[in-house]
C-alpha cells in the first residue's frame, strides 16, 4: 500500500478468509437472521461445507484512484478521462463533493458457485444454498474490506469516503459497469464482463467510491431515495430475504 493516494494510483488486494472474518458462525448468523432461527440446525453442515474452501483461497480485488473529476450538474453526470458516467440524481448528489474517486472490482472466485452447481446436480439443494450464501457473504466482505482500506488511506490525507455504490444501485444503470471496467484498464483480478454486462465469476462486485473532505458515509442508503415503491427499499445488498 502506498503512503498517500495519487492520481492513477492502483491498489491490488489479496485477502484470506480469516482476514475477512468469514467463519461458519457468521454464515449461520446470517441464515438465522434471515430465516428466523433456522440456521442453528445446520451448524455442523455449514462447518463441513466451509472445509471445501482451502484456507489459502484468495479473495481478490483491484482499485484505481482518479483525481480529475468533472461534474455536470445539468445531466447528473461525472466525466473522468473522457468517460462519462450517468450517475442518476441520487448517486450524483452523493458523489458531488468528491475530490477524487476510486473504482474497484473484487471477487471471491469460482469456487463457491462451482461447488453450488455440483451440489445442485447431486440433488443436495441445502448444501448448494448454504455454499452459495457463503460466496455472497465472502464477496460482500471483500468489498467491505476494500472500502475499509481505502477509507483508512483517505483518512491519512484528511479525507473521508462515501459508501461503495455498484452499477445497478441507486438508479445507476447496470450498463455503466462497462465504464467501471474501462477505468480499471485491464486490472480486473480475473473478473470478466460479458456482453450483457454480467461479471464472471458470478461472486464479484464492482463499485465506485467518492473521496473528499466533505463527503459522507450513510448507514442507510435508502433514505437518500424518494422511490417509496422500490421493492428493494431498506433491503441491503447483504440482507437478501
Amino acid at each position: 500500500m502506498y503512503s498517500s493516494m495519487r492520481d492513477n494510483d492502483e491498489y491490488l488486494y489479496r485477502f484470506r478468509a480469516y482476514e475477512l472474518e468469514i467463519s461458519p458462525e457468521e454464515i449461520i448468523e446470517f441464515i438465522d437472521k434471515n430465516h428466523r432461527g433456522a440456521g442453528k440446525e445446520y451448524k455442523s453442515l455449514t462447518r463441513d461445507l466451509l472445509a471445501y474452501i482451502p484456507d489459502d483461497h484468495e479473495y481478490k480485488g483491484e482499485l484505481k484512484v482518479f483525481y480529475k473529476l468533472c461534474f455536470e450538474d445539468s445531466t447528473s453526470s461525472l466525466r473522468i478521462n473522457n468517460i462519462d458516467f450517468k450517475l442518476a440524481e441520487i448517486l450524483y448528489n452523493e458523489m458531488r463533493k468528491s475530490e477524487m474517486t476510486a473504482f474497484f472490482v473484487c471477487t471471491a472466485g469460482n469456487i463457491f458457485s462451482d461447488l453450488s452447481k455440483r451440489f445442485t446436480a447431486e440433488g443436495d439443494y441445502l448444501k448448494a444454498y448454504i455454499i452459495d450464501i457463503a460466496g455472497n457473504i465472502a464477496v460482500t466482505a471483500t468489498a467491505t474490506m476494500i472500502h475499509r482500506k481505502i477509507t483508512e488511506e483517505a483518512g491519512r490525507i484528511g479525507m473521508r469516503t462515501t459508501n461503495y455504490y455498484c452499477p445497478g444501485n441507486c438508479g445507476w444503470n447496470i450498463n455503466e459497469q462497462q465504464k467501471v471496467f474501462e477505468m480499471l484498464s485491464g486490472h480486473y483480478s480475473g473478473v470478466m464482463l460479458s456482453e450483457v454486462n454480467l461479471m464472471y465469476p458470478v461472486k464479484s462486485i464492482s463499485a465506485i467510491v467518492g473521496i473528499g473532505k466533505h463527503v459522507s458515509f450513510r448507514e442507510n442508503t435508502c433514505e437518500l431515495c424518494h422511490n417509496i415503491k422500490c421493492p428493494y427499499r431498506n433491503k441491503s445488498h447483504q440482507e437478501g430475504k
Binding site: H35, E41, T120, Y125, Y129, I174, N175, L198, P231
Partner: protein
C-alpha cells in the same frame, strides 16, 4: 390412508431424506422418504398413488407454510431433497407410462441477470408439484426459450428477474414467446416484479412466491 403413504407424506413435509439423514433431529434413526418409497412400491402400492397422495400434497403443505413464513428456505430445501429421493424410485414408472407428469415447465433467469436463488426455489417446488422442469439456468436469451418451447410443445414458461433493468428483457421474451406461440402461458416473478408489470407486458401470471405459481399451474390455468 395407507400407513406407508402417511409416513412418506410426513417425511417429505418434514424434510426427512433417508435413514442416515440427521434432519429433522426428532426423526433421527427412522426410515426416510427414500426407504419408505421403496417399501411402498415393494408392497404393491401404485406409483401414482405415492405421487398423488403423499409426495405432491406434502410439497403443497411445504409451499403453503413457506408462503405464510412458517418455514424458511433451508427447510424447504430439505423437503425438496426428500421429495427427490422418493422421486428416484418413481422415475422408472414415468418411462413405462404407469405414472404421469402433469406437463413440462421451462424456467430461466432472463438475459442480463444471474440471480438464481429464487428461480431455483420455484423450479424445485414446481417439480415437487408433479411437473417435469427444464431449467435453462441464468442469463437466458429469448432464442433459448423459443427453441426449448419448440422442443417441448405445449410447455409452460417461467421467467425470473432480480434487477430492475433486466425486467425489460422479460418484456422482450414475453413478446417474442407470445407472438410465436400465442397459446403459451408465461409466468413471471422475482423481487422487483409486480402484477401491474405483468399486465403491462402481457404475461399470463405473476406470483411473489413459488406456491402461487404451483396453485396457478394446478388450477387448470385460468388467469
Amino acid at each position: 390412508m395407507n400407513d406407508l403413504i402417511k409416513k412418506i407424506f410426513k417425511c417429505v413435509e418434514m424434510g426427512k431424506i433417508n435413514l442416515t439423514s440427521p434432519y429433522p433431529p426428532d426423526m433421527k434413526d427412522q426410515d426416510g422418504a427414500d426407504e419408505l418409497t421403496r417399501q411402498a412400491l415393494d408392497n404393491g402400492i401404485h406409483p401414482s398413488d405415492i405421487l398423488d397422495s403423499a409426495m405432491i400434497p406434502a410439497m403443497e403443505v411445504v409451499g403453503n407454510k413457506f408462503s405464510r413464513n412458517e418455514i424458511f428456505v433451508p427447510q424447504m430445501l430439505m423437503s425438496a431433497k426428500a421429495m427427490s429421493a422418493a422421486m428416484e424410485h418413481i422415475k422408472p414408472f414415468f418411462k413405462s407410462g404407469e405414472a404421469k407428469r402433469k406437463g413440462v415447465f421451462i424456467i430461466g433467469t432472463v438475459e442480463g441477470d444471474l440471480h438464481d436463488i429464487g428461480k431455483n426455489l420455484v423450479a424445485m417446488m414446481i417439480e415437487g408439484a408433479g411437473w417435469e422442469v427444464i431449467d435453462l439456468g441464468v442469463d437466458v436469451k429469448t432464442e433459448q426459450f423459443i427453441s426449448t418451447i419448440n422442443e417441448y410443445p405445449g410447455s409452460l414458461i417461467g421467467l425470473s428477474a432480480l434487477i430492475t433493468t433486466t425486467m425489460e428483457n422479460m418484456k422482450k421474451t414475453v413478446n417474442e414467446v407470445k407472438s410465436k406461440y400465442p397459446e403459451t402461458r408465461v409466468l413471471i416473478g422475482g423481487a422487483p416484479v409486480t402484477d401491474d408489470f405483468r399486465k403491462k407486458i402481457g404475461a399470463s401470471f405473476y406470483s411473489p412466491d413459488p406456491q402461487g405459481a404451483v396453485n396457478y399451474l394446478n388450477s387448470g390455468l385460468q388467469v
